[in-house]
């Protein structure tokens, strides 16, 4: 029997609760990660790229790296 069907008392098959819960957890983790990425991007762009040029300067890049580190530190 594959992990995607369950043998409930009623004899019906379908994803087991464990499989469903795992899928939900994975989807939530993915959604959180995407949201966090978006927040980091917004915050660090605002702080570090005050006058957008034709490319990111070295100081803008370093600022963005530090910003990401600090924001993660602030979140914890």
């Amino acid at each position: 029997m594959d992990p995607y069907s369950s043998s409930s008392q009623s004899g019906r098959s379908g994803p087991s609760p464990e499989v469903l819960m795992d899928q939900v957890k994975q989807q939530l983790a993915q959604a959180y990660a995407e949201e966090f990425f978006g927040t980091l991007r917004e915050k660090c762009f605002a702080k570090c790229v005050t006058k957008p040029g034709t490319s990111l300067s070295g100081s803008e890049s370093s600022c963005i790296s530090r910003c990401v580190e600090r924001y993660i530190e602030a979140t914890a």
Partner: protein
Amino acid sequence: MDNASLDSPATAELQSFLEQEKQRAMLNELVAKLTDVCWDKCITGSPGSKFSSSESTCLTNCAQRFLETSALILRRFQSMQQ
């Protein structure tokens, strides 16, 4: 709809799981909001390679004041509804 296909213990387990995940999501959202707001208030210049002590203090104070503000407003709402 055939309710026999919803095994009772499984449904209860899923409901309890969803409730737990909902709580976790709400807490996650609170932390994210708090960080968002306090970052804007406290990190005024360009981010450094570590927080200055005034930035650090500001972040701590901000988080606490934010939660207090939340509680205050909630109490105000509740008393308005009486």
